[in-house]
Symmetry: C2
Subunit: 64 residues, 2 copies
DNA sequence: ATCAAATGTAATATATATATTACATAATGC
DNA sequence: GCATTATGTAATATATATATTACATTTGAT
């Protein structure tokens, strides 16, 4: 998943990113694993914190 | 909001778009009004149905 | 091999997105 | 004018994202 790559590129742990976006480590971990369906606001906070856009992290060009 | 513009450009009512994405008219109406925080999956379905991307509909370049 | 940090994961609780039903108003065509 | 379609909105119910707490496993450095 692109999220994990962007996070480690920034040198952040799940814990650190979670704190920066106001979520928990567990939530971040599950989102990275694709195990849940985060809210738009959380996606936006994550993207801004990692200096990415929604499309960068959460959009797949291919599939239909 | 950009969502409403994209929807009317496609000639769809809230009801029609809601059916296409598997949601209700009320949900679509509230999202258009910015009154709730939709899930990523719903945002993706909406974007694909309207031939747009996440950034097109849900990303603001400015703010910070 | 040991220690600490990072991550996985499970149980339960809480907040909130979303559905359902219903009624009201606005807009548009006839 | 009337009928119909689109939209706003409220009450309640349900599903699920997210938090909390806790313990296990992995990874990396020393």
């Amino acid at each position: 998943m692109k999220l994990k790559l962007a996070r480690v590129e920034k040198g952040l742990s799940q814990q650190q990113l979670a704190e920066l976006v106001g979520a928990t480590r567990q939530t971040l971990g599950l989102i990275e694993k694709g195990k849940y369906n985060p809210s738009l606001n959380l996606c936006i906070k994550i993207a801004k914190t990692l200096d990415k856009t929604l499309n960068d992290l959460f959009w797949e060009d291919d599939e239909n």
